[in-house]
């Protein structure tokens, strides 16, 4: 019997569903704060530190400490170890259900976890992060008497994590191969996105108009990706690059819609040889990495006064969920650092990231419908095989990105709890703040390291035509149109002020 005939199939067997289960399990644990219990406060939260101060009088507590007040007496290393055990156990259970080699997964994850923390802690050194600006009457740069600083804000750990991953992926390929079983950036980021549902809920309480604007832009982004980018790229591939129909369709989906997942969905829908989406996905993953490296810094430098436009534009331009969310997080931190340095105003964190994520999620949601439409077009028009082959509409559900459900369950349940028990607002914020804060950031950091680890730029060799088409489409079609659409909807929109 086919496992794919029941709508419930895959619920315990795919990383997409496991991001929902792990995300919602930790979120549910955080809600114990409503009953006065702190089940997630063991999570360590890094602190900013200064090199001379630390080396003169070393203390782990200067680097990080438990996030919850109930765990303040814990030694920092105990909280670090607890976080390692809990996360490894949850992910290992998911890996076992996905029939991954659990021993290799745990070994690889342990290395990634350690590297991630090294990058996270190192990236919080004041010379890397602190901006020379007075906020709420304090200038931490001056207080620390720093003689120099990179002033990267909270983006510094992400850049270090990415650097560590890329060095492994490109210069220590033996190690990268050994980490491959655990280097799952899509799983890490999808779990983190479930936690971001909490942030969206909090943002909707604070400014419901903002969320509505993001939803409208998301709808426009969906139209642009499927009905504008796709036909343009497909036509370019067919007419200019003379690629075959199936290669053109898979490539058009990969470049225009949502990266590797769209390439695979389209390849499956039109029943292309799997080598086609595999090749296209390799190109997509490498270009997504280039976009992640270039775009946040470029948008920060070129359009410093358009934070939300920049976030939404990233959501339409950067393919793969991991790269988009990572780029959104980096943009959020770089833009806030640049803004505070220029004006002394502190934008609240997370709003630029939300713009990036929500725009992308809208596009993701419709990939199943698009793949189904392409499947019908291929059967009835291209192959003319009506009556010989039939496709079930259930394929739409099988292709639906399930982590989006987790994201909205977290968001809507947060809103419902906040509305039902307004007196419990502080308790709600303290518990969920841990999963939406340091736990979510840890998963983002893991994503940066894992993405770098699986990105091998040498794989672009031999991909000449595909890579050239991708580059041309990105620079002359996707990026400018995406920016134009984002500007149309969000120009002048600013995140609220505050920490």
């Amino acid at each position: 019997m086919s496992v794919n005939r029941r709508w419930t199939s895959g619920m315990l067997a795919t990383e997409d569903w496991w991001s929902v289960w792990i995300g919602l399990a930790l979120y549910a644990a955080s809600l114990a704060s409503l009953a006065g219990a702190d089940l997630v406060g063991w999570m360590p939260r890094p602190r900013t530190w200064e090199w001379t101060d630390l080396t003169q009088a070393f203390a782990w507590s200067k680097l990080f400490a438990p996030a919850g007040a109930a765990y303040v007496a814990w030694h920092p290393l105990a909280s670090w170890l607890t976080a390692y055990v809990v996360l490894t156990a949850l992910l290992a259970i998911g890996a076992r259900c996905q029939r991954v080699d659990v021993g290799r997964f745990v070994a690889g994850f342990s290395v990634l976890y350690a590297l991630t923390w090294v990058a996270w802690l190192a990236g919080n050194e004041l010379h890397l992060t602190t901006v020379d600006a007075t906020v709420d009457g304090r200038n931490r740069y001056r207080e620390a008497a720093l003689s120099w600083g990179l002033k990267l804000g909270e983006g510094a750990p992400y850049l270090l994590a990415l650097g560590v991953g890329l060095i492994i992926g490109n210069f220590a390929k033996g190690l990268a191969a050994r980490l491959a079983e655990a280097a799952k950036p899509e799983w890490f980021i999808k779990t983190a996105i479930v936690f971001l549902g909490v942030n969206l809920g909090a943002q909707m309480i604070q400014a419901s108009g903002f969320a509505v604007q993001l939803l409208v832009t998301g709808a426009a982004a969906t139209f642009v990706a499927y009905l504008l980018f796709w036909p343009i790229v497909y036509t370019l591939a067919r007419r200019v690059f003379r690629l075959k129909r199936d290669v053109s369709a898979v490539l058009a989906s990969g470049i225009s819609v949502c990266g590797a997942s769209a390439a695979i969905a389209t390849g499956g829908a039109i029943r292309a040889k799997p080598v086609i989406p595999v090749a296209v996905s390799m190109v997509v993953v490498i270009f997504a990495m280039l976009e992640l490296i270039v775009l946040p810094g470029a948008y920060t430098a070129l359009f410093p006064d358009q934070p939300v436009v920049n976030g939404a534009a990233l959501g339409m331009t950067v393919k793969t969920d991991g790269a988009d969310a990572a780029a959104g997080a980096l943009l959020d931190d770089l833009m806030r650092a640049a803004h505070v340095a220029a004006t002394g105003e502190q934008w609240q964190p997370g709003w630029i990231l939300s713009a990036s994520i929500l725009t992308k999620l809208w596009i993701d949601v419709f990939i199943g419908v698009w793949a189904f439409v392409l499947a019908l077009v291929w059967v009835y028009k291209v192959e003319k095989r009506a009556g010989a082959v039939s496709i079930s509409p259930m394929e739409i559900w099988f292709r639906f990105p399930k982590f989006v459900l987790g994201y909205f369950v977290a968001c809507l349940s947060y809103l419902a709890i906040a509305a039902a028990w307004p007196a419990q607002a502080a308790a709600l914020a303290s518990g969920t703040g841990v999963v939406a804060g340091p736990v979510r950031t840890l998963l983002f950091m893991l994503t940066f390291v894992a993405m770098g680890t699986i990105t091998d730029f040498s794989k672009l060799r031999g991909m000449g035509k595909l890579a050239l088409l991708y580059a041309l489409a990105l620079v002359f079609v996707i990026a400018p149109i995406a920016y134009g659409v984002a500007y149309l909807f969000h120009r002048g929109l600013m995140p609220p002020l505050g920490n």
Partner: protein
């Protein structure tokens, strides 16, 4: 509705279908489907079979992006004389 099932994979540049006592390969999917319909019609198989692509045939690093490749139903025309 459930139909008898064949498992589809792609290995060494060839499509392969296994199940219902068959193990058939072909370089092109259409050629594989023609072989299947012929063989199944000769055996008097039911009019429809379900082809499920085994996603474990995709590279491990790729499956995290999308864990589902394709499923579809192949119609089997009865063999002449049946």
């Amino acid at each position: 509705m459930s139909f008898p099932e064949l498992v589809l994979t792609y290995e060494r540049d060839r499509w392969r279908a296994t199940g219902l006592g068959l193990d058939v390969t072909h370089a092109e999917l259409r050629g594989l489907e023609w072989l299947l319909t012929t063989l199944l019609a000769e055996r008097g198989a039911p009019p429809r079979v379900h082809l499920r692509f085994d996603s474990s045939a995709l590279p491990t690093w790729l499956r995290q992006y999308h864990a589902h490749y394709c499923n579809y139903v192949l119609e089997i025309a009865p063999a002449e004389g049946r």
